[in-house]
């Protein structure tokens, strides 16, 4: 009984929809031609009656009331998803200032129109009626949230911060920036806090990939993902070790699964059988916290069987013999004792990686968030160096960053130990930026308490609470912290929540600048009566700016809608506070102002990017002019999916020739925009010419160590380089010695005299050295398997501070306590010894991680009804054995108690996804505090739809010795029936 009453008219005429399917899917059959078919925006261009139908339900009444009034023009704004670092493009359809629809961007070479649950529902950001946003500035008055005006908020916040600065010094304040700020805002915040007079600033990268950045940069030059998601399509073997990409970076799996279909072997080694593992060819379970032992175990097999790339190591790696010695100690029995993995399993992974080259390793926070995170990531680097996989398409270390712009905020944002571009905070660095910013160095110095404080790295976000609570004589600054500004940060993403609340209570002032009041507001209101301010910030969909995806591609976002409610853009708030503090003129000395919301001034985002372009030579943020980036966004279709390179193309709007550019000009994009460096798709790739995005390892650690040459050996260099051996980094002396100085113009000579490639404001030296002679401005050296400036030069396994294995604590003890790291003491041995037997009372390993539906601290995503409906309750994954032994069943409330005595009331999910002895909790929840719903502590109407216990209320002490990364992945707990 097939009745046919109706056919769809438009569709039956031409079948334009058929092309869409072909475009969407066939690109992944290896046939990329169909994807290039022109995308018909047929529905979007229509006006009149069709436009009315495009209105969301919630707008319908309004639109009908307007009756026959002419509907506004439909505009399509191209933006980038603000959730994770994959960088999925979105076409937002806007009418009359209202975001009415969202369309896939099939042209994006990164996501090809694909989205996960978060990206597919991002339009909620424009849904006024269902929003759980913070709508107006608020202050806590007598324990109650009270609406205040922006004027009052800025006056009171400004006065109070000035008072604290005057009485206790600028270092009594701490500024937590955000990896969700765009590059321009992150860059401005670094400048803003500097002008306030302190290095006490940080952002989520600290607790996300700080160990990667430090460990990887110290190994070979730059602390970033070496290749790209797309480049996995060239891999023959992909090892996920410390990444659950299917849930944390779902759209990246588009490339991974394509590689798999083309024969790549996908391996997952993880304490959990993750959804990524469900898609892998091979899965092996490892004990949480045993990472170095596993990697060394792999190296053991590689060296034993002669699978290493001997020529590569000889030409490009320093100190591999030391790593080899360490690996020799990791015999299969020892590896099994520590990791719980059988010899055959470890050998299998090693063999697959060695015999299916190019092979790549993927990691995220599974490697980084450990007390020995810096060692784990370096062991991964050593693995890839031993196999000769770095600087190779299809190889590399594919390090998946977290937030949408955490890479960019790390590169140019508020870091306590560095000015933008990893320049550090030594005198010369400040002078370079004084010059870039157009302000007097002496004036900047006067803002700080002293030159010593100006050149001393600030506190880290992971330790701010200790800087409040710790005895004054033990901290390395005059006063304890009195004020903390949370500028886009979720406190529940930090460990030791219980102590953080104590610190919040003790502070004189808390300021929260965020689109959502976040758990910060509720936690503060739980323990405070006053001196908490909430300022509504605009989202990244409500302003323009650039964001750096994990693969270092930079994408320009168009503003989709005006800031909703009373929210203001972060850069406007910065500018207005700068006015209050009296340094607005210096703040924007070389940046023009544009009119923002309500006609108020704010720093112009394009012009801010131009300032970044003028200053950040070190990591090649200089070639990505706003004009070039915008041309890329308009012409995504010309970029190849496998190589990210443009095959021809001319931007219709500006005439810019795209030919040869890599998508988003992945940094480093050296030199000025004028010399047209195409960006670097894969770092350290000697098979390509420098001007084709090639490179080699960085000369950043001297030219020799103990008589051993640190520069690359003869014959190892980027393709076509005029210097065919290793060489140090470029400065005016080197250029003169080479006889290339006279290739500079007279103006360039003047600017470059006495400078090096990082400080030459003309970029002339880079032009001559790189464009004319094919040489790398940062030199050509070996990667380091031995990082002699770290406490463990060769990566060592050290048991977590809270280990269930007292016997292994004896054999592999942690570091000695440190009196002062990043201004505070940090304990290792004391904590480990005190908790050696914690495993008796708390026998389960507690680990945490991500869910697809939520992101970060989760306040934003848990406020989105389309996402909230999919994950309505905080839970703990527990193995059937552990559940049965405790008499708990599936979907029951239990208490999860950690050695801090913090107790979390959560539902059980009994599953073999976790092994016996390990439990897993997602980290996106907040809004419950040890069994109590905190709804009453949120401003009215602004509590997230879904609330639950924050796992970090219960997490324990533990930090990486180099970077103060927090330990979230391995601690202990006990589970009991609630």
């Amino acid at each position: 009984m097939i009745l046919t009453r109706k056919s769809t008219k438009a569709a039956s005429s031409q079948y334009p929809s058929q092309n869409r399917l072909a475009r969407g899917a066939s690109a992944f059959l290896g046939n990329t031609i169909d994807r290039r078919t022109f995308l018909r925006r047929s529905g979007l261009a229509a006006g009149g009656a069709a436009a009315l139908s495009q209105l969301p339900f919630s707008m319908m009444r309004k639109a009908e009331a307007a009756d026959k009034a002419p509907a506004g023009k439909l505009e399509v704004k191209r933006t980038i998803c603000t959730h994770c670092s994959v960088g999925c493009a979105i076409d937002a359809v806007v009418q009359n200032g209202v975001w009415i629809r969202q369309e896939p961007v099939f042209d994006s070479p990164i996501n090809l129109g694909a989205h996960c649950a978060k990206g597919a529902s991002i339009r909620e950001h424009g849904m006024h009626e269902i929003s759980h946003r913070l709508r107006t500035p608020m202050k806590l008055n007598g324990g109650k949230w009270e609406k205040i005006s922006w004027d009052q908020a800025l006056t009171e916040v400004g006065d109070k911060l000035m008072k604290i600065k005057k009485e206790s010094g600028p270092d009594a304040t701490f500024w937590i920036g955000s990896s969700k700020h765009n590059n321009e805002q992150a860059y401005l915040l670094r400048k803003f806090v500097s002008f306030f007079g302190t290095n006490n600033m940080d952002h989520q990268a600290r607790i996300c990939h700080s160990t990667t950045v430090a460990g990887v940069a110290n190994t070979w030059g730059y602390g970033a993902m070496t290749n790209s998601y797309n480049d996995e399509q060239n891999s023959k073997c992909i090892l996920f070790f410390g990444s659950n990409a299917a849930e944390a970076h779902p759209v990246s799996m588009l490339h991974t699964l394509h590689a798999k279909e083309n024969g790549a072997k996908v391996i997952v080694v993880d304490p959990r059988f993750t959804r990524t593992a469900a898609k892998a060819d091979t899965y092996y379970r490892i004990r949480s916290g045993a990472d170095v032992a596993f990697l060394m175990g792999m190296l053991h097999h590689i060296f034993k069987n002669g699978w290493e790339d001997k020529e590569y190591i000889k030409a490009r790696v320093y100190g591999m013999d030391k790593a080899r010695e360490e690996a020799a100690k990791w015999t299969p029995d020892k590896v099994e004792e520590v990791t719980g993995m059988k010899e055959a399993e470890v050998r299998d992974v090693a063999e697959k990686m060695a015999k299916n080259k190019p092979s790549t390793i993927v990691w995220a926070m599974g490697q980084t968030q450990h007390t020995n995170g810096n060692a784990i990531v370096r062991a991964s680097c050593i693995l890839q160096l031993a196999l000769g996989n770095v600087g190779v398409s299809g190889g590399g270390t594919n390090i998946y960053r977290g937030h949408d712009n955490v890479q960019g905020a790390t590169d140019v944002g508020p870091n306590p130990d560095s000015l933008p571009g990893y320049y550090g905070i030594a005198t010369g660095s400040w002078k370079h930026f004084a010059n870039v910013w157009g302000v007097d160095y002496e004036w900047i110095k006067k803002q700080f308490a002293s030159q010593a404080m100006m050149e001393k790295p600030g506190l880290t976000v992971s330790r701010w609470a200790d800087a409040v609570l710790e005895k004054n004589e033990l901290i390395d600054q005059d006063n304890n912290l009195k004020a903390v500004v949370f500028w886009g940060h979720a406190p529940n993403s930090q460990t030791r929540g219980k102590e953080m609340v104590d610190a919040m209570k003790k502070l004189e002032l808390m300021v929260v600048i965020d689109p959502y009041p976040s758990a910060t507001a509720a936690m503060a209101a739980m323990v405070r009566k006053d001196n908490v301010y909430l300022l509504p910030a605009a989202t990244q969909l409500e302003c323009a700016g650039s964001a750096t995806a994990s693969n270092r591609s930079i994408q320009w976002r168009e503003k989709v809608i005006d800031p909703m409610f009373e929210s203001r853009t972060d850069h406007m708030i910065m500018y207005q506070l700068a006015q209050k503090f009296g340094f607005a003129k210096e703040f924007t000395a070389k940046i023009k102002l544009s009119k923002g919301k309500g006609g108020m001034d704010e720093p112009d985002m394009e012009d801010t990017l131009r300032e970044i372009n003028r200053g950040v030579w070190t990591i090649g943020y200089t070639g990505q002019s706003p004009e070039r980036l915008q041309a890329h966004m308009r012409n995504m279709h010309v970029f190849d999916i496998k190589t990210l390179r443009a095959k021809g193309g001319k931007d219709a709007k500006t005439g810019y020739v795209l030919d040869g550019d890599y998508f988003g000009l992945p940094w480093p994009c050296y030199g000025t925009a004028a010399i047209k460096h195409p960006g670097s798709p894969n770092l350290y790739d000697t098979s390509k010419h420098m001007m084709d995005g090639g490179g080699n390892f960085r000369a950043n650690f001297g030219v020799e160590k103990d008589g051993v040459n640190l520069l690359a050996e003869d014959g190892s260099h980027s393709k076509g380089a005029d210097i065919t051996t290793g060489y140090p980094e470029l400065d005016h002396v080197l250029l003169k010695k080479l006889g290339w100085w006279d290739e500079l113009t007279e103006d360039e000579k003047k600017a470059a005299e006495g400078k090096n490639w990082k400080t030459d404001p003309s970029g002339g030296m880079i032009r001559v050295f790189m464009k004319e002679h094919g040489c790398h401005p940062f030199g050509n050296a070996k990667a380091r398997a031995v990082v002699w400036n770290f406490p463990d030069p060769v990566p060592l396994h050290r048991e977590p501070l809270y280990s269930p294995r007292a016997d292994l604590v004896e054999k592999y003890p942690t570091h000695a306590d440190q009196k002062n790291r990043w201004r505070v003491p940090v304990l290792f041995k004391t904590v480990q010894d005190a908790n050696k037997d914690a495993g008796k009372m708390y026998p389960l390993i507690m680990t945490s991680g991500r869910l697809t539906e939520y992101e970060g601290g989760g306040d934003e995503t848990r406020s989105n009804p389309w996402l909230a409906e999919l994950q309505q309750e905080m839970f703990v994954e527990i193995n059937p054995k552990d559940a049965n032994d405790r008499g708990v069943r599936n979907n029951e409330y239990v208490w999860v108690e950690s050695p801090t005595k913090a107790r979390l009331k959560v539902k059980t999910l009994v599953t073999e996804r976790v092994g016996a002895g390990t439990v897993f909790l997602p980290f996106h929840f907040a809004g419950w505090w040890m069994g109590e719903d905190m709804k009453k502590y949120y401003p009215e109407g602004a509590a997230p739809i879904v609330r639950g216990e924050a796992v970090n209320t219960a997490t324990t002490y533990g930090y990486d010795i180099v970077t103060m990364m927090q330990e979230t992945k391995t601690t202990l707990c006990q589970v009991s029936k609630a």
Binding site: M1, I2, T4, K6, S7, T8, A11, S12, Q14, Y15, P16, S17, Q18, R20, L21, A22, G24, A25, F28, R40, S42, G43, A46, A49, A50, S53, Q54, P56, F57, S58, M60, E64, A114, H115, C116, A117, A120, S121, E124, A246, E247, P250, V251, M253, L254, L257, E261, F273, R275, A278, K279, T852, E853, P865, W866, L867, L870, T911, E912, R913
Partner: protein, 207 residues
Amino acid sequence: MARMKFLCDAERCIECNGCVTACKQEHEVPWGVNRRRVVTLNDGLPGEKSISVACMHCSDAPCMAVCPVDCFYKTAEGVVLHDKDLCIGCGYCFYACPFGAPQFPQDGAFGLRGKMDKCTFCAGGPEEDNSAAEFKKYGRNRLAEGKLPACAEMCSTKALLGGDGDVVADIYRNRVLKRGKGAEVWGWGTAYGKPEKSATPPAGAKS
């Protein structure tokens, strides 16, 4: 005339729920009504597989067969739609459907379910294409705009395919050939009959 079909490639589906929220936001489906959902088998165990399920727009649709008020109809493209003005919310279609597609906005005893709601293959309902009335009852009509269902278009790994059955079959066949395994197609046989049969293009069809 193309025959519209859905297919979910279990080798690719990662249970990210992108299809679910794509549907929710495109049609502004209320909380509690799930036109599409992701089902996982062997959750957390080796062999774990996920598939995204909605109305499969069956060739011989059981819902149509059992509806006492005959509110279902099928478009020339094979999309199974229904008329909410006729629907009495009896729930027979829900019992008949092998995929659990029909949804009801209200809880309660028999007769209080409200009008049935289900996936429309983004093809609206009997009202005029892209009219406000159509949107209010059935959501957007993407097919009439020359677009395909939002869920399939936004699928994170291109696991969910939706469109002309011949193109869908082609894409899937290529994947199976490349993998050398896994020709089992979730729901395909139930909804559209044997694969061999449906793989033969109807006369005059252009892929």
